[in-house]
């Protein structure tokens, strides 16, 4: 019996010995030969960087190709530290122009690109055309690239478009190198019948920027390059940052370079430096075909799942350089959608348009809130958010055949496939997998231009909402308790409030606050009367008075140039300091702000006094709001170093992530439009601003940008779970009663401030009276990580087991996998490659070790 078991074990096609990966950093799919089988088949090559070698994996069984001894996986020794891989098909044809199934070109490059010490950068060509599986030859780039160049990125591409006449088989490997260089190495098939791949003479295209990542268009006519550097200079808009498009339809070296701006123009000096448009990029990808996108029609309950609008051309998706994005910059961080056929314009750069614009598309039902509080759509499609830094992008499309290729969508000829977030399966036309610095691989549903969520954004207990509220303290005698108006058009479902009222209790306050899916983030908010402005409480400061009697305060230590430290840019509009605000010298006195100065140029100041980050000019004693005496404020002599708190002159809203969020006014009437307050995006984000008010307004607009595009259904919901959801308009719950379609733009927060008992003006609440509330965003972004470990995610690669071979036949290697979904392979530094399908659950993630 035992012998029989042993015998069976011995007869196994391949024992499992483990892949024994050692610091895998890159993976690439290729078609070629190995000792695993006599026939050509597909493999995934993995750069095992610490082992100075490559491994081959079989994507059919997720097992490594074994070494001749069969007790270890096959090792293909390379130069030390292989970090980058690339492959490309040569598209061979016979004399009758029939496609042939021959091996791809596969190359590796080491850290910096040098194969050996002092040898200069080179590519190592791997022997894919027979089962020897070794480095066939070094393809030197020294002498081609400038001295001292380093290889930064690789990509493979066919030399011509699919529709070109096939003359001789060839493919290109693109090498991005430091010093602004793009080397192109063309590979052809050997004419000796060996099937070998032969490198041509490398050529170099000079760029004016360093390439970080490269992607080729599906037809091979264009190359897209991500870079942190300016690509070109527009005569009107300044330096252009984003993605470079290189014309590859002919000679690449002579091909024109077009700068595609990844964002709007920086309107002024918030980003120091000369005029610029767009943002730097660090990753780029292009889908193999135009992507079907969801319909935008609030009258159709299933519109979110009707993928009926195909992008006019394959869009380009790029991860923004974190150094040039964020809510103090002209664009938020994430993955942007670039329309390569668009015209550069200051409001959007070359980004695709925002399809969720009620003004451009009246079929999208807008926010029902007071008109003055409603957000307008941004002129460009908002970046798709990615937690951490988006390091790499891989795009997957429907499988070529089999039952997982869904062709029953209303759009004829457009196939879909299923995504499986926890919240439920959704069909899509394309998915982007983003390897993040955190170690997770985040999904982006390109048909809905947004991340799938494992939770419902707008329905149920997980939806965007106010989760907790801490009311203001009960009013003492003679004081007025801070509250919020419960207006009749946003009251909770089932409520029959006939006239608006001021709520002061926790439950009532929560229902009086409007939140908005795709805009409101998870955060803790504080609404306070004459509260300290964010970051400006009890700060070390400097108080000095000019010889002309003008007092100034600055938040800094030290007075003279070169000795000033711990500065705060007091005039930074995101701090929100305005004339009239209160400067408190705790325990001493108060003065009001006369002017917020980014630069102080007062000839009457003592020589040598420096305010490198601006200062506040104060009103003199005797002015309204100034309790300081002349002795306290205008004392002659050296500057004093008090502790300073800057308070708002009235109400102020802030939260922990965004800081200052504006100055609500107290409403006194039941009119829901009176002093309705919201923080909503507006075009002030994009315009030049010179006054303090305009700068602060723009800062607020930037904090109110869209975070993502929700994909919950418009009202009424087609399959309501309860009576509330079946109502229309306003089928969603408390805080979302003015929402008819979650795709519509809205404010990040909205309410009306009131006072308990609604006393007439000038009644105000006591200083520091505050309402604190917590919100949740409703977004739980779908991602995958290995079941265990998962440190240092490398670039994902897309793989389709159902794809036909170059001759149009089913691949024997994948017999039994004809109905498989698409897969992604992701190398991880902790000695594993993760394999998963977006159609499957997180429990079906495999780790190849």
């Amino acid at each position: 019996m035992a012998l029989a078991v042993l015998g069976l074990a011995a007869c196994s096609a391949q024992p499992s010995v483990g892949s024994r990966l050692n610091g895998p950093t890159a993976a690439v799919a290729f078609r070629g030969f190995s000792r695993k089988g006599a026939l050509i088949q597909d493999y995934v090559a993995v750069a095992s960087s610490r082992g100075d070698e490559l491994r081959f994996l079989d994507p059919a069984d997720l097992q490594p190709v074994l070494s001749p001894g069969a007790v270890f996986p096959l090792s293909i020794p390379t130069a030390p530290r292989p970090l980058l891989l690339a492959s490309a098909a040569l598209r061979d044809v016979d004399a009758a122009d029939n496609r042939l199934d021959l091996a791809d070109v596969l190359v590796a490059a080491s850290a910096g690109g040098a194969g050996t010490e002092g040898s200069g950068p080179s590519l190592q060509l791997i022997e894919t055309w027979d089962a020897t599986s070794r480095v066939a030859q070094d393809v030197p780039l020294a002498g081609v690239l400038a001295a001292g160049s380093e290889i930064l990125c690789l990509a493979g591409m066919p030399a011509r478009g699919l529709t070109s006449p096939f003359g001789s088989a060839n493919a290109r490997i693109l090498v991005g190198a430091s010093g602004g260089q793009l080397a192109v190495v063309e590979f052809t098939r050997a004419t000796d019948g060996s099937g070998a791949v032969v490198p041509g003479t490398p050529v170099v295209k000079s760029l004016v920027f360093d390439p970080i990542d490269i992607a080729a268009s599906p037809d091979g006519a264009a190359i897209y390059i991500a870079t942190r550097d300016p690509i070109a200079t527009d005569a009107t808009l300044g330096a252009v940052f984003g993605v470079a498009k290189v014309d590859a339809s002919g000679d690449i070296v002579a091909g024109a370079v077009t700068a595609l701006a990844a964002g709007p123009q920086d309107p002024d000096s918030i980003t120091p430096g000369p005029p610029r448009i767009g943002a730097g990029t660090i990753a780029v990808a292009v889908p193999p075909a135009a992507v079907p996108e969801r319909s935008v029609d609030s009258s159709v309950g299933t519109s979110v799942d009707q993928l009926v609008t195909v992008t006019p051309t394959p869009f380009v998706y790029a991860g923004l350089d974190p150094d040039s994005c964020g809510n103090t910059k002209p664009i938020n961080c994430g993955v942007v959608t670039i329309d390569p056929n668009s015209t550069l314009n200051p409001g959007a750069g070359n980004l695709a348009t925002d399809r969720a614009d009620p003004l451009a598309n009246t079929a999208l039902f807008p926010d029902l809130g007071p008109p003055a509080t409603v957000a307008v759509a941004q002129p460009y499609r908002a970046p798709m958010p990615v937690p951490g830094v988006p390091l790499h992008i891989a795009i997957g499309v429907p499988p070529a055949s089999g039952s997982q290729r869904l062709a029953n969508d209303p759009l004829p000829g457009t196939a879909l496939f299923a995504l499986a977030p926890v919240a439920g399966t959704r069909n899509t036309g394309a998915v982007a997998m983003i390897s993040s610095s955190i170690g997770n691989v985040y999904w982006l549903d390109l048909s809905r231009f947004s991340p799938p969520s494992d939770l419902s954004v707008a329905r149920g207990s997980t939806r965007v909402s106010v989760t907790t509220v801490t009311p203001a303290a009960a009013a003492a005698a003679g004081e007025n308790q801070l509250g919020l108006w419960q207006d009749t058009d946003n009251q909770p479902f089932g409520s029959t409030l006939a006239v608006a009222q001021v709520n002061v209790d926790a439950a009532g306050l929560a229902s009086a606050i409007d939140v908005w899916p795709g805009f409101t983030d998870a955060d803790t908010w504080t609404l306070a009367y004459q509260g300290a402005l964010p970051f400006l409480s009890s700060r070390p400061g400097l108080l000095i008075t000019s010889t002309a009697g003008t007092p100034y305060v600055a938040l800094q230590t030290g007075t003279s140039a070169g000795a000033v430290v711990l500065t705060t840019p007091i005039a930074d509009p995101s701090l929100g300091v305005l004339p009239g605000d209160i400067v408190e010298l705790p325990g001493v006195c108060e003065a009001s702000v006369a002017a917020v100065l980014a630069v102080v140029s007062d000839p009457n100041l003592s020589a040598g006094v420096s305010f490198p980050r601006g200062a506040l000019q104060l009103n003199v004693p005797g002015s309204p709001g100034v309790t300081c005496t002349a002795d306290q404020l205008l004392a002659a002599g050296p500057p004093s170093v008090p502790t300073i708190t800057v308070r708002a002159s009235g109400m102020v809203l802030s939260n922990t992530k965004l800081g200052h969020l504006g100055r609500p006014a107290i409403a006194r009437t039941t009119d829901s439009t009176e002093n309705a307050f919201s923080v909503a995006w507006n075009a002030g984000d994009l315009g030049a601003a010179s006054t303090t008010d305009a700068l602060v307004a723009r800062s607020l607009a930037r904090k109110a940008r869209r975070l993502f595009y929700p994909s919950d259904a418009p009202c009424p919901i087609a399959s309501p779970a309860n009576a509330e959801e079946a109502s229309s308009p306003g089928c969603y719950s408390t805080g979302l009663r003015r929402l008819r379609d979650p795709l519509a733009p809205g404010p990040i927060i909205r309410f009306r401030v009131g006072l308990g008992g609604n006393p007439p003006a000038p009644a105000v609440p006591p200083r520091d009276a505050s309402i604190v509330f917590v919100t949740q965003a409703g977004l739980s972004q779908t991602f995958r990580k290995p079941v265990t470990g998962g440190a240092g995610a490398g670039a994902a690669i897309f793989f389709d087991r159902t794809a036909l071979d170059p001759t149009g036949k089913t691949k024997l290697q994948f017999a039994g996998h004809e109905n498989d979904p698409i897969f992604f392979f992701v190398p991880y530094l902790d000695d594993q490659v993760m394999a998963f399908s977006p159609t499957q659950s997180s429990a079906q993630v495999s780790s190849i070790r």
Binding site: G148, D321, L391, P540, G558, G562, T567, D572
Partner: protein, 501 residues
């Protein structure tokens, strides 16, 4: 029979008495070589031996290498088995270079002081690191003695550790390790001179520092960083007067990088690196060189050497796994935000080898101006070196390209490589367990990396061109002409110290 029994009894008693003797003493530490070196530091002096801010190779500029030996295996006396050695690098590198044994030629070793065992990082205290300080000292903490040693360096390089040299540290904490010197106007008081010492072992894994007032009888003040993780090392930015503290694992799911200012009382702030890179432990930190004191502009970037452990294993066991699963170098945005604090956004992360330890900036100087090189109107971003102890490598990260330019890995990559031994094909180039790291800027624009091999107990000296780091070791002025210099080793690649026996 009775006599025989008595003799046996007497012999046994004698043996017993010998066995119980407490007079057996450990031998003194080696005084002619390194022994499990940890901290490394480079300083420059003038012809008179006074501290000088200059570049190696400048006329009248002499290079000194200070090396702390840790007596890691307690082969020598625990209380005085560690050493600090002052090495005249010029004597080591000047021709004719000696053969491999001994590797510290006559005149190369200038001084040696005995300290406690388990030495940590070194900090140099002289007028170049602390304006206004008279004389020179090297500061190093001993984990065995829970003390900070203030070893005096005289102009000839002699080291002395006399009375008052060992400064007692906080008795309720253990394992002092990191030492940083900070001098300036603090709390409104000018010309303050302080040292900060980290502790690797604290109650409840608290982050604790000792602030030593170097001008006031070593007065000690405790600085509490919070309870998430012990502090590993510190780095000081004189422009913002901020002290940044890296960490040792203390709690699953947290990896705090903490900082506070010395200019005015400030509660420590913290950024959780774990939330940006799962499983990260922040070991080393270096600051970019673009700070400008004249405009009160602090460094724009911080470079973090990260050890990455298996977060899932840590979560299930509650303790940090003993082995790393990876390493990374993270680039943090330190530009000042509206709050006046560093922005602390993650700008880039690149994989490096396991066991990331020490991290240093390699200056990229224009030999003509002595300033950071400017190319096409743009100031080059920094080159950063990191020792990766577990994988026996040193990585060079180029922040200008955002990629790893070079990994000093194994022997055999250098054509014609013959010396210094042992460096057999396939063996680590650096000496096993590269740990301590120091960088010296050179007048020709090159830089020297000094890499201490903890296990092999020698120091590798590698000269590189920071403007072309991928090229690896390059010929320096002392090695460009082997016939003239007598150096037969590979260009720009030499070793100081014999292998540990």
């Amino acid at each position: 029979m009775g006599t025989r029994s008595a003799r046996l009894l007497a012999s046994s008693a004698l043996l017993l008495a010998l066995a119980c003797s407490d007079t057996t003493r450990s031998p003194p530490p080696f005084t002619d070589r390194f022994y499990y070196p940890t901290g490394l530091a480079v300083r420059h002096v003038d012809d008179a031996g006074a501290a000088l801010d200059c570049r190696g190779g400048d006329p009248g500029c002499h290079t000194r290498l200070l090396v702390a030996s840790s007596n890691f295996d307690l082969r020598f006396d625990s209380a005085t088995g560690g050493t600090v050695m002052d090495v005249n690098v010029d004597a080591v590198l000047q021709p004719p270079q000696q053969s491999l044994q001994p590797l510290l030629p006559g005149g190369a070793q200038l001084g040696l002081a005995r300290i406690g065992s388990f030495a940590g990082e070194l900090a140099v205290l002289d007028k170049t690191t602390c304006p206004g300080f008279e004389g020179a000292q090297v500061l190093v903490a001993s984990r065995s003695q829970n003390a900070l040693y203030r070893v005096t360096i005289d102009p000839t390089g002699q080291l002395t550790c006399g009375a008052g040299c060992a400064v007692p540290l906080e008795s309720t904490f253990g394992d002092p390790y990191g030492v940083t010197v900070a001098c300036g106007t603090f709390d409104g008081i000018p010309q303050q001179q302080r040292a900060f010492v980290t502790y690797l072992r604290t109650p409840n894994s608290e982050g604790q520092l000792s602030q030593i007032d170097l001008t006031n009888n070593n007065a000690r003040t405790q600085k509490d960083l919070g309870s998430i993780a012990p502090a590993h090392g510190t780095v000081y930015d004189p422009v913002s007067t901020r002290l940044f503290a890296t960490e040792r694992f203390g709690e699953v799911g947290k990896s705090p990088l903490r900082w506070f200012s010395l200019a005015a009382p400030e509660t420590p702030s913290s950024a959780d690196i774990y939330s940006l890179i799962r499983g990260a432990e922040v070991r080393g930190m270096a600051l970019s060189t673009d700070a400008d004191a004249t405009t009160s502009t602090p460094p724009s970037r911080g470079y973090l050497a990260l050890r990455i452990y298996d977060a899932d294993v840590a979560t299930s066991t509650g303790v940090r796994p003993s082995a790393d699963v990876g390493g990374a170098l993270a680039v943090m945005d330190l530009t000042q935000g509206p709050s006046g604090q560093p922005a602390m956004h993650l700008l880039n992360v690149v994989p490096i080898d396991r066991g990331a330890s020490e991290i240093r900036i390699v200056p990229r100087l224009d030999p003509t101006t002595g300033l950071q090189k400017v190319v096409a109107g743009n100031r080059l971003r920094d080159l950063v070196a990191v020792t990766c102890t577990d994988d026996n490598t040193v990585a060079l990260y180029d922040d200008d390209t955002g990629a790893v330019s070079k990994v000093f890995d194994i022997c055999g990559g250098i054509p014609g490589e013959t010396e210094p031994l042992p460096c057999a094909l396939g063996d680590p180039l650096m000496g096993k367990q590269p740990f301590g790291l120091a960088v010296e800027k050179l007048a020709n624009g090159h830089a020297r990396l000094y890499v201490g091999s903890f296990d092999r107990s020698w120091v590798n000296v590698i000269e590189i061109d920071p403007l072309n780091p991928a090229a690896g070791p390059v010929a320096g002025p002392t090695t460009a002409n082997p016939a003239a210099t007598g150096i037969t080793g590979p260009a720009g690649w030499v070793r100081i110290g014999p292998e540990r026996q």
